[in-house]
Amino acid sequence: MTNYKFIQIIKQLLGKKYLAAVVFLCLQCAVLNSQNKNEIKVVFQPFFGSYPLILDSTYVFENGQIEFSTLKFYISNLQFLKNEKIVFKESNSFHLFDASNIKSQNFTFTIPKGLLFTELNFNFGIDSLTNTSGAMGGDLDPTKGMYWTWQSGYVNFKIEGTSSLCNNKRKEFQFHLGGYQFPFSALQKISLDVESKNTLVIYVDVKKIMETFNLSSIDHIMSPSSEAVRLSYLISQCFSLK
């Protein structure tokens, strides 16, 4: 809730009389809190081999060329661990990475000052409970284009583009991977060893991802299936610490 909305509600509830006192107390709390906190930034950077990935740019791939128009995926349930124990867990942790929106590639967490961690865990995709809990907002809002309409469920990972390797007339490929119901649950857990630094950069190797597909034989997947589960696992192996 933004401060403005919060103030509006308080205003309606109490009348202006107490407003100044309330605002003062809130600000004081905020100041006190910030002194004991540390900001951690997690950055997801897409690369194509050794080049940064830029949408609509052409890359050499296998014996042909490839171009990407869309790359979007969900990261959820971020946790920081030390010696296999969770030391910090983000609440309501859902992030949509979108290669076309630089802001969506950095997530900032406020953790207690001096907290050390050795491992970063997160889910690649959306869990089954969230998939069945009805309409959600923020990054989970269906207007984000990551929710199937003909069948319920989030698309965990979406990559689209063109490649000379595709066998269809338009040379297009489209992979919408997701599914939460047994036996086609595509959700993957990713665990990375990290150092207790204020900025953690995670490298997403899109070239390695494309090598898991075989574009000449399959150029699209758009529903939950065992193939979607298999590919989701292989893609989860393409995240590494820079």
């Binding site: 809990s133 009805g134 309409a135 907002g137 269906p142 003909w150 319920s152 086609f184």
Partner: protein
């Protein structure tokens, strides 16, 4: 300070608390399936949902509303059409289901493709033969309209529409569509009595139909293969399309029988226009297959009088109050 915090919390929770008169679980009914904690009903949200439900703005070219295929006078279905039609007179692949007692429904669509009432509206909004729109464009369109700015502000305290708010408001209206005042219900409450024909129909219904069309909702919400022969033009395998599990082949959602008098034609593909044809199907047209419902494996024998008696009972499930309820009617006049 702490006390003040608690007071805020209580006051805020109370202001968002559900209005009990908007949703009342009828006596002796099971608990609703819908999770109201994430979407507590309020008058203004239900009203926003109602306006959206009747507004053709939901479709790409502003021609088709939810009510186009779910009209109140037919208990919120599309009568006279075996397969429902949408934008540019496109014909769909299934018969639109009646929208009745949705708060008790676990999954939606004939094949259960949709897992939560909130997400149901996305399917027709997007389908090329229905509204051919998408939720992002729809929300953008809503954000340019003065009436919706007012309605969203009233409902959510913020005039900006989002996908979440739009879908939740539609759910709110749909949740209020409760049908629980048919003659059957009044007889159960001992306010009226069945005729002798209806009593006999009820007895036969309990013997032959009640396992799947269980009272008081007249459905178990499960999926079953009721022995329909496959339409080779549609090749619709129902639940199998979603689960890809062969044991779900040819299974479709068991529909409620409430208001069945108003919701013709019948079955997922609308192949039967009359209840008498449905009776004939169950007594002499059952197609045997691996997934056929166990209840139908043994032939059901009914005399023609018995069939008529069952139909007489089914008509006691008609709820005229529900069909003509002003709270569920098109609010067009109010806003124009």
């Amino acid at each position: 300070m702490k006390v003040l915090k608690y007071i805020f919390f209580i006051v805020i929770s109370l202001s968002f608390a559900q209005h009990d008169d908007l949703f009342i679980t009828p006596k002796n009914w099971p608990k609703p399936v819908y999770n109201f904690t994430n979407n507590a009903l309020t008058k203004s949200k239900v009203e926003l949902g109602r306006v959206l439900f009747y507004d053709p703005i939901l479709s790409k070219d502003n021609t088709i509303s939810c009510a186009s295929c779910h009209s109140p006078f037919s208990a919120f279905t599309h009568i006279d059409h075996a397969l429902s039609h949408g934008i540019h007179d496109s014909i769909g692949a299934r018969n639109s289901p009646a929208l009745i007692n949705l708060a008790w429904q676990k999954t939606f669509m004939w094949d259960g493709a949709i897992n939560n009432l909130d997400m149901q509206a996305l399917a027709p909004i997007t389908h090329k033969a229905e509204m051919a729109n998408d939720i992002k464009s729809l929300v953008q369109k809503l954000n340019t309209i003065k009436l919706y700015k007012h309605l969203f502000k009233d409902a959510f305290g913020d005039s900006i529409a989002t996908g979440e708010k739009t879908l939740k408001a539609i759910s709110q209206f749909l949740l209020t569509l409760i049908s629980s005042n048919a003659k059957y219900d009044r007889v159960m409450k001992k306010q009226e009595i069945f005729t002798s024909q209806e009593i006999n129909g009820y007895r036969l219904f309990q013997k032959h139909c009640n396992t799947c069309h269980k009272e008081p909702l007249f459905t178990t919400n499960d999926f079953a293969n009721n022995g329909l022969s496959i339409d080779t033009l549609l090749n619709d395998y129902g639940r199998f399309i979603i689960t890809k599990n062969p044991s779900d082949s040819l299974k479709f959602k068991i529909p409620t029988l409430r208001n069945i008098e108003f919701t013709f034609p019948y079955m997922h593909d609308g192949r039967f226009k009359k209840l008498s044809q449905v009776m004939t199907h169950y007594t002499s047209q059952i197609q045997s297959s691996k997934t056929l419902a166990s209840e139908l494996k043994q032939k059901i024998t009914l005399t023609s009088n018995e069939k008529v008696d069952i139909i007489a009972f089914l008509i006691t499930l008609s709820d005229r109050e529900f069909v003509f309820d002003k709270r569920f009617a098109d609010p067009y006049i109010k806003y124009n």
